[in-house]
Symmetry: C2
Subunit: 418 residues, 2 copies
């Protein structure tokens, strides 16, 4: 992607809830027109209206038990085409020239992996031409096109990824993600009423928060933005309150004065957690490969892995997965268990994860101890622990996870204004 | 269009009412699969499901007062993409490999006249490849693509035209039009209960019937079929009763033995008729041009024109148009009237046309007299008369048109089996 620089370019992405009705589309168009009226070239990336994608999937399953993925992708792509054309029409109605482009017309080339294609290249000639003619360019999110002109969809987080990829390919100033929340918070405000909105956050912190259940942005879009150092503003499409800026210098270690900085930036949690444990597996080489290779082959995404050695030369090997993958993963695990001489296979599907995230944690000790202490005082039992440079995650019972988020939010002083 | 001949190829087109629900799509898919199971290569052309196109137009007008045509065409094209993918999925479910192609993917190139584009060329490489791989190829009707990859729609009769154009370009054996009626009738069966289905009809007769209000097929598709001598079968998608074959040798003068032939093939009628009359226009050159040139420039389609000269050197000039064009046409006529010294402008919007059609009329006299006599005996007053080689049309009051159809159906012995 070699950027043919268009001075001052902004990319704005609107999610499905921001486009759910004709009135909301007109409201989003007014926001776009205001930006364009300031003389800014604008690319708008749209998702399908409201629940359109789910409705199209339902329609597909009403005619076929197993809709082929190529056809399903072409079907689903119509959702974004509808919202893109409506956005262009609403802009015309505001006297703002605009043109809607499909993934194909916008030159968004992808791999031929239907339902979860990756963008391989953007050929921005058409977009550049339209921008130079003073038009707002509306691009359908979530879709790409293969070399032989088949339409693909980009899978989860696809529209965010389209927006960030276009911003990177065309050298935009910034990529704005308009959604139904006002930004990134120190914790889920539905769980912690005193949670505060962050004015800025770094890519790595955002990645951890996104991976850990903050549903505002998909990790793959954040990763792409980090790669190209593209600033992202997450804001509400319904209000004019300032959102959260995700950028290179947004990490807590950079943005806060030494003396007052809070090294934990936010508390993330995720209730979509199931666990499988292989009980008393003889501790020898090859055990992990024997179990995780077939899981990977079946596209089961394994999250946390923990192994605890016993005195008798056996270990308990536990791993977590999303709940929807449990039946498939269990079947595979049970078929492998005899060959590695596991005593039994144990499962739980009533779990959750709670995590503390912050780049400042790297250089300061004691965060783990403080986390475990706070959870212990609140009577929350910890199942599995996993850590990264900027994150500590505990797997706990789902019944206790909201309590856990609240006590950690207080323990790390996130309730208080800086 | 140089046909890359695929042996035994059939094109089947399904209209919106044949695809209005998931159940109907599955029923249509079963019909397609039966044909494919006989070893026939099949191309299926689909319209949008049920009232989808109207719903999309309504959606467009809910976001914009005047939706731009380029965006409207791209929006409307999604309707056919949805039904094409669903048809492909339903075929997969029946173990029949199938692939859905958009107008762009199918290589249907068109002029850049949005909302009423004409097909300029078909580049059938992708279709041929898919057929050779044993797939049923589903093509979205009603849409084309410009040289610069913008999506167009083909206007009224677009899906029929797509089907016939594909049949011609790929050298199909036949083009089947599946619809919600069982074929072409000697008159509208809702008006004449004794109307009979024709087993075959010629292109010219079909053209006249189509232009005169038989809504089963659009004239432009019939014209294209005639140009390439492509046989068309019109049949019901809901039953297995034989339909009507439209073909080169289907004209009444060819198909009936001399002695028993009925030279009138059918009675057509159309209630969408308005009339404008310029009263007492001085009879001099240039009058017709002065009025019809500005109407043509405003895209008002003028149907029948009649002029009656009076003794005083003036004429009354009448013409008919569709009722929706009346306000626009009247405005233009009134602005022109003073310059051609018309005494006044008179209008009527409560009219209808009734026509007798048949190639056999060319060579046999007396049809006009018989028609006028039958109408007179039934008390039906004739406003305007127009004729072609194979047709006589009378403009009558709308209140009387159904009576007119019935008396003519009887007068020309169309009630009786051959």
């Amino acid at each position: 992607m070699s950027p043919p620089e268009i001075q001052g370019l902004l990319v704005q992405k609107y999610g499905g809830s921001s486009l759910a009705t004709a009135e909301r589309i007109r409201a989003a168009a007014r926001r776009v027109a205001r930006t364009a009226a300031r003389g800014k070239p604008v690319i708008v990336v749209v998702s399908a209206m409201g629940d359109t994608t789910d409705e199209l999937i339902e329609l597909a399953y009403s005619v076929a038990q197993r809709p082929p993925e190529r056809e399903l992708d072409l079907l689903l792509s119509t959702g974004e085409t509808v919202s893109a054309t409506l956005m262009a029409m609403a802009l015309h109605d505001l006297q703002q020239p605009a043109v809607a482009l499909t993934g194909l017309q916008a030159g968004i080339r992808s791999t031929r992996v239907f339902s979860r294609a990756r963008i391989t290249d953007i050929q921005p000639a058409r977009i550049s031409t339209e921008l130079l003619h003073g038009k707002v360019v509306i691009v359908t999110g979530f879709q790409g096109v293969t070399e032989d002109q088949d339409v693909t969809t980009l899978g989860r987080g696809g529209s965010d990824t389209t927006a960030v990829a276009l911003a990177c390919a065309l050298g935009a100033e910034r990529c704005d993600i308009y959604t139904d929340v006002e930004g990134i918070y120190t914790a889920d405000p539905r769980v912690v009423p005193s949670a505060r909105k962050l004015s800025e956050v770094g890519y790595e912190e955002m990645l951890e928060l996104a991976q850990l259940g903050a549903r505002v942005m998909h990790p793959r879009a954040v990763e792409l933005a980090e790669l190209y150092s593209m600033p992202i503003l997450v804001a509400s499409s319904f209000t004019d309150t300032p959102g959260t800026l995700i950028h290179r210098d947004g990490d807590s270690k950079n943005t806060m004065p030494m003396e007052v900085r809070k090294n934990v930036r936010g508390i993330a949690h995720d209730t979509d957690v199931a666990r499988i444990t292989l009980v008393r597996v003889p501790d020898r080489p090859g055990v992990a490969a024997a179990i995780f290779e077939p899981l990977a082959a079946a596209s089961v995404s394994v999250d946390t892995i923990a192994q605890s050695s016993g005195a008798d030369g056996t270990t308990d090997l536990s791993f977590t997965i999303s709940r929807s993958d449990l039946p498939r993963a269990l079947e595979i695990t049970q078929s492998v268990a005899p060959s590695i001489h596991a005593a039994s296979v144990d499962t739980a599907d009533d779990l959750a994860k709670v995590s503390i995230v912050g780049t400042g944690m790297q250089s300061a000790p004691g965060y783990a101890a403080r986390m475990f202490g706070a959870l212990a005082r609140a009577g929350v039992n910890i199942n599995i622990i996993s850590t990264s440079d900027i994150r500590i995650t505990c797997v706990v019972s789902r019944d206790h996870v909201e309590d856990a988020v609240r006590v950690l939010h207080t323990a790390f002083e996130l309730d208080r204004e800086d």
